[in-house]
Assembly symmetry: C2
Homo-oligomer: 465 residues x 2
């Protein structure tokens, strides 16, 4: 692809749109804007602009489309596949200043927000109104726009689904600068092809989301978590689908091994009540009636011990304990990162019934490739997070190991009916693996869809497909 390099004339134009202080160029651009949380995909934009209104974005896109300047959108930069890294330079469009909550509509149970609102701010805002937003991605400082762009999932997907299930409507600036609205406050929609669903998960390659209408629901009155240690990972993993199908649906079913726990305890300086068993399940139950949540939890505890060989069940029923244990869980990624020199991640999603077989394969691969591969996972929805750790490997060996290991992992997952990404997306880092998995007809259709939205391929070029 041939893109126009940004000149002083372009910068002047951008300053007219955004104002002097929201156009940052060359040496003034901080290095954080050259990468995301993954770190390994790295490139500086030619110019960083910070938008505060869709009209600015529309004006930017009209100009960029005319002059063939690439535009990459960025929220908090918490992604793990390099999706927001401007690999062709051009404009990096930061949306974090567009962080207004526009409207809470209590009759329609919707919340209309700008894309730069952090998801933790959304939780807090709606909880105060006794309302609830279902998706719960691990990274609470992600922007809602970022979670829409990757169809983020998170812990509560077992019961509450993923971001897609909670987006009722979108306002989108197209590559041409035109502004369209998709969906709305309505609950049902059978009005032509669902462009809304196409935009969700498209990682900034089809359009720029400038407003999001979220579905809300009534806040559950009680939530209890359970921590259950097991003597083997196989037993822990087998318990999950049985709990889900023989009982009420849990809110979350997280799985981890002793190593993740120890890394995280060390990282946070916190201790869990259990930390010396091989494998753990961390479950949550919630509901609209206290007595029923208690009953569900009692039944789950009995099943865990009597039927599924859990060694013990530790009830987490105070807010303080809940925060403590979930902060340990939320700390896994950071803790694993700190345990090594560099990581790369595989965010594979599998049918729940195939997890055990797959993780045995991962363990064997770790021995075969002589690389440390810690993992944990959203067991309730079959989404695993698997980390290759560089440790003391030299760069060449690391790259070889990564490539060989990832190809094997994704091939194995595909043979089990799994997919390349459950929730972190494709971005730049997983492009080749998606390409390997899809049939050429699917890729051709996806490329034609990209062309339909963005004929000059200026929106986040080089990503997804």
């Amino acid at each position: 692809m041939k893109y126009k390099k940004i000149t002083n004339e372009d910068l002047l134009y951008f300053k007219n749109i955004f104002g002097e202080e929201r156009v940052i160029s060359e040496n003034e651009i901080k290095s954080e804007y050259a990468h995301d949380e993954l770190g390994t995909v790295f490139n500086y934009p030619e110019v960083l602009v910070k938008a505060t209104h869709k009209k600015e974005i529309s004006a930017l896109m009209k100009y960029a489309n005319l002059h063939k300047i690439p535009v990459t959108v960025r929220g908090s930069g918490t992604g793990l596949v390099g999706a927001c890294v401007p690999i062709y330079g051009g404009v990096l469009l930061d949306l974090t200043l567009m962080n207004k909550i526009i409207e809470l509509d209590k009759t329609n149970l919707t919340l209309t927000v700008e894309p730069g609102v952090l998801i933790m701010d959304i939780y807090e805002y709606v909880l105060k109104e006794d309302l609830f937003y279902g998706p719960d991605p691990g990274e609470k400082s992600a922007t809602i726009g970022g979670t829409v762009s990757t169809n983020a999932g998170g812990m509560r997907a077992v019961k509450y689904g993923v971001t897609r299930d909670w987006v009722r409507g979108l306002e989108v600036v197209l590559a041409s600068g035109e502004i369209i609205k998709l969906g709305g406050k309505v609950v049902k929609n059978a009005s032509g092809y669902s462009l809304k669903d196409l935009l969700i998960g498209s990682e900034g390659t089809l359009g720029i989301v400038t407003e999001i209408i979220l579905k809300l629901t009534v806040k559950p009155v009680k939530m209890i978590s359970l921590l259950a240690p097991f003597n083997s990972k196989e037993e822990a993993i087998l318990a999950a689908p049985k709990l889900i199908s023989n009982h009420v649906i849990p809110t979350a079913v997280e799985f981890f091994l002793n190593d993740s726990l120890l890394y995280s305890e060390r990282y946070l300086g916190k201790k869990l009540p259990h930390n010396n068993y091989p494998a753990y399940l961390l479950l949550s139950y919630d509901g609209y009636h206290e007595e029923v949540v208690d009953k569900d939890v009692r039944k789950a505890s009995e099943m865990l011990i009597n039927e599924f060989n859990a060694i013990d069940v530790f009830l987490i029923d105070t807010e303080e304990r809940r925060k403590a244990i979930w902060s340990v869980r939320d700390g896994f990624l950071e803790a694993i990162k700190l345990s090594t020199t560099l990581i790369d991640e595989c965010d594979v999603v599998l049918p729940r019934a195939k997890i055990n077989e797959f993780l045995t394969y991962v363990d064997n691969l770790s021995s075969e490739l002589k690389v440390r591969i810690p993992y944990f996972g959203h067991l309730g929805d079959g989404n695993l997070h698997i980390y290759f750790c560089k440790d003391d490997l030299d760069e060449k060996k690391w790259q070889e190991t990564l490539k060989r290991g990832f190809l094997k992992l994704y091939d194995k997952a595909a043979s089990f009916g799994g997919l390349v990404s459950g929730e972190h997306g494709i971005g730049f880092a997983k492009k080749e693996y998606l390409k390997n998995q899809l049939k050429s007809e699917q890729l051709t259709i996806m490329r034609a869809i990209k062309k339909a939205f963005d004929p000059h391929e200026i929106l986040n070029p080089g990503k997804v497909i």
Copy 2:
């Protein structure tokens, strides 16, 4: 569009693929294959073929794509927008023989089915296993493929969502005859553009669905319905969003006026305990604990009477009563059809807060246009079914009234943030109204998407866009 007319040579080719007895042509084609439940969109196919396997469909499409022969897919033909009517002739591909339930996977909680399975057979099959399929479209003799193609909603959308929310994976024969798989048994997916979501609701214009992986959940143990009469439609309508946001989510919130009730009682020869009040809400609550459902229902009853001015609340807690009252509700469409010479339907969906204002507009429009317009609706999700009745209008006057009335209704709905179709789709009958509502950029993108999937426009041509 110029399509090839079907010759004897083509028929021979089709007989080679499908066998002599599953290729029906010319006068042997029954008139039911020339229309759907709407009736007003009417055209015979040149040939009707009945598929039993995806390989046959793949072979058909390869040939049709080469020779530019239109192919229109049909399930039970229960649609209301003419989507399965072969308006350009060509091949009508009947999938009702592909009615096998392929696999119930209890570990992953999925059901894999062929597209011709009737939704009532799916309910029955999974209930026997204590499992549950959420969507509940009114027409139980629809095929699952038909409900996927229109993203059907139904009564339980308030709590359980629509068909889209329950489709985990699709197998699709493309216009080229290639077979692709989208999604799978996995719960999460962030692996490239969601072609699965694009196929859902595309009414047979992008591909032919040959296998569907449905999500299941655990069967609720108890369901109770409530019938609440009101002195005015305004009060009934106001109660719905308050019930939803101040209490647990009901499974269904249906709304109707006295007229629909009387038509349906007459049609079924059944009486309801109440039938002489102006307006009614029919609510359902379900759950996994009997005592909790009882509690929810008690609270809803109290709120209905004390806060929302319901005249009475009639509890429907036996299976016999439940069947009786819901059969009256399910009979509305047929009953309204029988009350007149011809109907046409508006399946508009609105933000819940706008229903009252919209229905007042409908009532005024009825007076203004001097046409009877009965309606009822899924109040919980803002989806209304509004019927223009021809009664004794002559054809010319009827067409004028329809056109004027529909344009006004859809314009009004759009001004409230509503959409053309909540669950019945666009098909042929609502194409112009969708076109009116969408911006030209959206139409251009939708047309490019159609071209990406179906370059020769042979799949259900003349529909949706």
